[in-house]
């Protein structure tokens, strides 16, 4: 072991870099600038980028590992390390960044200290790792059973987080959606929450643009996304007045679909949705389009709990949201649809605008969740969990 600092780019710097890679593969956590060991670079593969190396170091820190591999755990860790080092950063951002202190020819990206690589860059690698994990896991099977002949015929529209979960729950109990002359049940809620749920659910399906960009898209068009537009959703299913129910009181929703109760629905936090959004983009590159929904559904059911709140509509969009909600109320009133609850509940929550903190996901929180998922493969084990989660009635 030498005492040379990696900050000096000498002939031994490449050896030190390969030594650091070996150290990280063994579960080490020493930052690059503090690293002084060496290894023989002659047989080594190309050096990974600073993003991959720093992510691996953070993973090692999170798993609380020592530098000595032990048995199966050590082999698993080395396998994971090799995967991390070979995983590309997704998207059109920066290519692999070289380490500061290595010989630099004057061409290519500017060398960096890996410790300064931001969470956004690390997430680009972590999301590919998790997407590959998800693809390897495969989609959980969908539970279905014989349809009960006496079931109430219904078609669910509106709040996607609620309707997707409810549709699946009811299908598993012999009450699939559809059938002749169904009641169109439109699940409404304050429009700001409805928009947040629409984006969140989309992240767990095909992916979406970032939350702020997505909201801006709809605001500048002065349109609502399909699933957040209750009146258009009802019309799309040719719902005739006697067969339409607009439900704003979720406690009364079960009766509208012919059951006494429904399980609580988990609303993913901002970090979970953002991570899913990034994973969905990579899954789209890994499997045929028809397989992605099943995989993303599996992710939604298995993603570990988070204490982070769902996204909220930022103040600058609230006037537009309020105007759109008023338009929806007018549309429902004019159409004469039956309302289960109070139409005033479609208005955005005034209190939400006072909510503290950022309206969208924070990259560091998303990275923390991603690292937790890579380090602890519990979410990939066994069948989908049914434990208590953050719930909403």
């Amino acid at each position: 072991m030498t005492t040379t600092s990696p900050q000096s780019a000498g002939p031994g710097a490449v050896g030190r870099a390969h030594g650091w890679v070996a150290h990280l593969r063994d579960g080490g956590t020493t930052p690059w600038l503090a690293w002084t060991g060496e290894a023989d670079p002659s047989t080594a593969r190309p050096l990974p980028g600073a993003q991959q190396l720093e992510l691996l170091r953070r993973l090692n820190l999170a798993s609380g590992s020592s530098a000595q591999p032990r048995g199966d755990h050590g082999r698993d860790r080395t396998r994971l390390a090799d995967r991390v080092l070979a995983t590309p950063a997704a998207g059109r951002g920066k290519a692999d960044l070289p380490l500061v202190g290595l010989p630099h020819h004057g061409f290519g990206a500017v060398p960096v200290d890996p410790a300064t690589v931001g969470p956004h860059e690390l997430l680009r690698v972590a999301s590919v790792l998790l997407a590959d994990d998800l693809v390897a896991l495969g989609a959980d099977p969908v539970t279905t059973t014989w349809a009960k002949p006496w079931r109430r015929r219904f078609r669910l529209v509106g709040d996607p987080v609620v309707t997707v979960a409810l549709r699946e729950h009811l299908a598993a109990r012999g009450r699939p959606e559809g059938g002749p002359r169904p009641f169109v049940v439109a699940v409404g809620r304050p429009l700001d929450e409805l928009l947040a749920h629409t984006w969140t659910q989309r992240c767990f399906e095909t992916g979406a643009t970032p939350w702020a960009e997505w909201l801006r898209f709809w605001r500048e068009r002065d349109q609502l996304p399909d699933r957040a537009d209750l009146v258009a959703s009802v019309r799309r299913w040719r719902g005739h007045r006697p067969f339409v129910r607009v439900v704003t009181d979720l406690d009364r929703l079960p009766r509208q679909v012919g059951v006494r109760s429904v399980p609580a629905v988990r609303v993913p936090g901002a970090d979970q949705a953002e991570l899913a959004r990034r994973i969905a983009a990579v899954v789209g590159l890994r499997v045929p389009a028809h397989e992605r929904p099943g995989l993303m559904r599996t992710l939604q059911q298995r993603i570990p709990d988070s204490t982070v709140a769902p996204v909220v509509v930022p103040d600058r969009e609230r006037d537009w949201v309020a105007a759109s909600a008023a338009r929806t109320v007018r549309g429902v009133t004019r159409a004469g649809y039956s309302v289960v609850g109070d139409l005033a509940d479609l208005a955005p929550h005034a209190a939400a605008s006072m909510a503290s903190g950022p309206a969208g996901p924070d990259d560091q929180q998303v990275l923390d969740l991603a690292i937790r998922m890579v380090v602890d493969p519990g979410w990939r084990a066994g069948s989908a969990r049914t434990t208590e989660r953050q719930v909403e009635r």
Partner: protein
């Protein structure tokens, strides 16, 4: 016969679309000469590049699943020479390069890089950004790429696909210089066939009877046209999703309409930027000369043209923008009319289908059956009866 792979990895804006179009349309002739260009669609190698580099691309990536492995398999199975060509391969990282080369098997790999001077590449890349939804001004684009930190998305992408020595370091590090071929784009005003002659020399296509008609090119825009497109982007980028932007703005407006303004001033560089770009190119030429690569054309082509008059696209006046704006409005109206005709035809087909269905329902027996079904569906018992009946008839 020896197995060879000619791997053309860039750079963008060096006539690659034309080359790929010729190769795609002449696959049969090429095969007769033991040359494989494996592509079932024009953008097959683009999709393979997205797959290799894990690049989501406005939804197109969903068509790229497994594309690189399929391409590599066809190349491995071919007995003669294979050609792979797409300019965004230039951005691959060393790890991706290693994976790509490994997946090509034991064939002799030759790297081909087509290159052009930065004096022409910089304006062309800005235009390309504008044609891909960006509304960055030309001045800001230049500041971005001249920032040594290369911290922005635009800056990091630009240098990843345009910094020739770095691309050669990443792709050519494991190859002898004799297997690295540079094709320089001839200076402006050169004979139109000269670039093809250089390509065909590098790819060993000389003497083949190929159809060289230019069916698909990536035409450049004039200064007012690019400026107009950037202004349009400011309005529409945030409200037009990529699947709509591509056919309406990029194809219809940029490629089919605005690129016709051949009399418009061409975009260049201001004197200071021009000098900087030429100095940089000279340093690159020095490096490449010392490495001893095979060159089709001349490395002197990389220095670029002398400074000319500079028309700043950021200060284009309304008078200048008006003619292309009217062309754009006309094109969009014609497209709107065409789409209305398509919509009308579809409505007509739907009306005919409904009429046919209604005629089938006019019989008295259908009406009686319908009434019975409607009555039964109104109660749980009736629904149960109907379900049992349908099961018995095997209709469920």
């Amino acid at each position: 016969m020896s197995r060879r792979v000619l791997l053309h990895v860039g750079c963008p804006k060096t006539g690659t679309s034309y080359l790929q179009d010729v190769l795609f349309r002449n696959q049969k002739v090429l095969r007769e000469h033991d040359i494989l260009y494996p592509a079932d669609r024009f953008d097959a190698h683009f999709l393979a590049a997205l797959d290799l580099m894990t690049l989501p691309w406005g939804g197109l990536e969903t068509e790229a699943v497994g594309a690189w492995d399929r391409l590599a398999e066809q190349v491995r199975d071919w007995h003669g020479t294979s050609i792979i060509s797409h300019e965004i391969f230039a951005r691959a990282t060393p790890t991706q390069v290693a994976r790509a080369l490994e997946s090509l098997g034991d064939a002799e790999v030759h790297l081909v890089l087509s290159v052009r001077d930065l004096v022409r590449q910089i304006p062309a890349e800005w235009q390309e950004n504008v044609k891909h939804r960006s509304h960055i001004t030309y001045a800001k684009f230049l500041r971005t790429i001249r920032d040594p930190a290369r911290d922005s998305r635009i800056g990091s992408w630009f240098w990843a696909v345009q910094e020739i020595p770095d691309i050669l370091d990443r792709w050519g590090a494991s190859l002898p210089p004799s297997q690295v071929h540079l094709v320089t784009v001839p200076p402006s005003g050169a004979d139109r066939g000269e670039l093809w002659r250089r390509f065909s020399h590098a790819f060993g296509l000389e003497g083949l009877d190929l159809d060289l008609t230019a069916e698909r090119e990536n035409p450049s825009l004039g200064v007012p046209e690019t400026s107009l497109l950037r202004t349009i982007n400011q309005r529409v980028t945030s409200i037009l999703a990529p699947p709509d932007y591509r056919p309406l703005v990029r194809e219809l407006l940029a490629h089919q309409t605005l690129s016709r303004g051949v009399a418009s001033a061409r975009l260049g560089l201001a004197p200071d930027d021009h000098a900087w770009a030429q100095d940089l190119c000279r340093s690159w030429v020095e490096v490449m000369t010392s490495r001893g690569y095979d060159v089709s054309g001349s490395l002197d082509d990389l220095i670029g043209p002398d400074p000319g008059s500079f028309a700043d696209p950021d200060v284009a006046t309304a008078d200048v923008l008006l003619p292309p704006a009217l062309d754009a409005i006309s094109a969009l109206l014609v497209e709107g009319a065409r789409l209305r005709a398509v919509e009308e035809r579809l409505h007509e087909e739907l009306r005919e289908a409904r009429d046919e269905r209604d005629r089938a329902r006019l019989t008295p027996s259908y009406r009686v059956k319908r009434k019975i079904v409607t009555s039964l569906e109104d109660s749980p018992a009736g629904r149960g009866t109907l379900d049992a009946y349908r099961r018995a008839r095997g209709k469920k």
